[in-house]
Amino acid sequence: MANQLLEVKSVDVFYGDVQALWEVSIQVEEGTIVALVGANGAGKTTLLKTISGINSAARGEILFSGEHLENLKPQNVVDRGIMHVPEGRRLFANLTVLENLRLGAYVPRARPFFAESLERSFTLFPVLQTRKNQKAGSLSGGEQQMLAIARALMGRPKLLMLDEPSLGLSPIFVKTIFELISTLNEQKATILLVEQNINQALKIAHQAYVLKTGKIVMSGAGNELLADEEIRKAYIGERVGRRQR
């Protein structure tokens, strides 16, 4: 068995009385890209939020490098080395680009490396350097997504979780973002990716899980799932076909 960085074991999550996740189990191997795909409301975002401690699991275990995360608060999960780029980016719009990045490196683990991380971010995203004193809210959608990812990288994550990074972006930026994810992975980053852009996500993912109404309905290597026409039709639906055009 390869070195599993993150292991989610039979997790149940509820919103009030409504069960959102049913015995969900996934594994993220170190150095890989793992994609979570599925329709809207399938529970992908819920799973990410549960891993990062925003939601709590009613049952099940979440292990990160062998350490239990179930009862940790979000800030402590970050401390362990998981950075979560939430859906909609949630930048601090009234803060400058630089201030956003500074907060990305807030945790004691990352703070001493601030200068180093900043240089890396600016190399990856030169546009952020030119706009470092602008308010984050004044950036374009694509630039904001870059800032959100850069802010997460400032925390020197062992695991980077991206929730819908391509949502609402122009096709050119979508391409850029997926290239970026591959690049980051080549630089040894482990990435857990939630996407509705299923084709693109499966193309770059080493491993993928398909969620449907709160349950994992199938899993496999990304390109295998991509190739399996039947399975795609059954579980991923027509969205794939539409996106292919």
Binding site: S52, G53, I54, K73, P74, Q75, V78, D79, M83, H84, P86, R90, L91, F92, A93, N94, L95, E99, R102, L103, G104, Y106, V107, R111, K135, G137, R151, G155
Partner: protein, 293 residues
């Protein structure tokens, strides 16, 4: 003659308004991170006015010098209040609980002061209480000028803290999006406690400043809280810089109001302005901040 009189009214308005301003900055900070209006703020201002009164009458410590004791003590009290009373409520989605806690605290403090210090007005009288400057015929009491000076200094200190330090940046970030700050690894309790410490610290400064200017009694705390709230609304709730300006503006409105239409109605005018701003310009008069969804 009329010009000088008007000028005098305006200057007094600004001088007194700065006290509202620093109180409102405190309210604004606590509102930013906790999303509640800390109603007890005014009562704490009066509480620290009494502390400064005691330090003077019992220990002979000059009120301005007492700031050295009052500021750290009030900041400590602020964070203790957060951890002792508001911590659980802050995590709760229902903000009404925090609001009611603040109301309960105000009620408690006001009545506590009534018992300890009685309802009779007290004032802090020093050798310089009656000292007055008269530039160009405008009467400016020394204590009011000092208050202005202290207020500006304090506000500048808070603004620099918010702008330059990492935790200050975190406080500003939390007032935009608390969940997102926790995803940066920032402990929301820590941020809230800092906001409370500064908020009550500012109440300490305002209390000492107030004590040197005006006689005060326990019931004045509630009125002061409303005044600070008006200043906050004028400046835009959640806008820390606007709060200071809002305070000064309120001081001007009151000063002009009581000069031209008389004492009691001046209050009604400020409440009226408050309502109009709430209804027609809820982002405040100096709002330039980016709207959030």
């Amino acid at each position: 003659m009329n010009l000088i009189l008007t000028l005098r009214v305006l200057v007094n308005g600004v001088l007194f308004g700065t006290t509202y301003g620093i109180a409102a900055v405190g309210l604004s900070l606590i509102f930013g991170t906790m999303r509640i209006i800390f109603f007890a703020q005014g009562t704490f201002i009066i509480f620290f006015a009494y502390i400064s009164y005691w330090l003077l009458t019992l220990l002979g410590i000059d009120p301005y010098l007492s700031l050295i004791i009052v500021i750290p003590a009030s900041m400590l009290l602020g964070s203790a209040l957060y951890y002792g009373i508001f911590k659980e409520a802050a995590a709760n989605e229902d903000k009404n609980i925090s609001l009611l806690l603040a109301i309960g605290l105000m009620y408690l403090m006001e009545n506590f002061m009534l018992v300890v210090w009685t309802p009779d007005p007290r004032s802090v009288v020093t050798s310089y209480t009656t000292l007055v400057f008269r530039p160009f015929g405008i009467v400016i009491p020394f204590t009011r000028l000092t208050t202005l000076f202290i207020a500006v200094l304090t506000a500048a200190g808070v603004f620099i803290f918010l702008k330059k330090t990492l935790i200050g940046t975190a406080v500003r970030a939390a007032s935009e999006d608390v969940v997102s700050t926790t995803l940066m690894g920032i402990n929301p309790n820590w941020v809230n406690a800092v906001a409370f410490a500064i908020g009550i610290g500012l109440a300490g400064v305002a209390g000492v400043a107030l004590a040197t200017i005006y006689p005060f009694d326990p019931s004045y705390g509630f009125i002061f809280a409303i005044k600070a709230l008006i200043a906050l609304a004028l400046g835009g709730i959640g806008n820390v810089y606007g709060a200071l300006l809002g305070g000064i503006l309120l001081g001007l409105i009151e000063s002009l109001g009581s000069f031209y239409v008389g004492g009691g109605w001046a209050d009604a005018i400020s409440y009226g302005v408050f309502l109009l701003v709430l209804i027609f310009r809820p982002q405040g008069l100096f709002g330039g901040s980016i709207k959030k969804a």
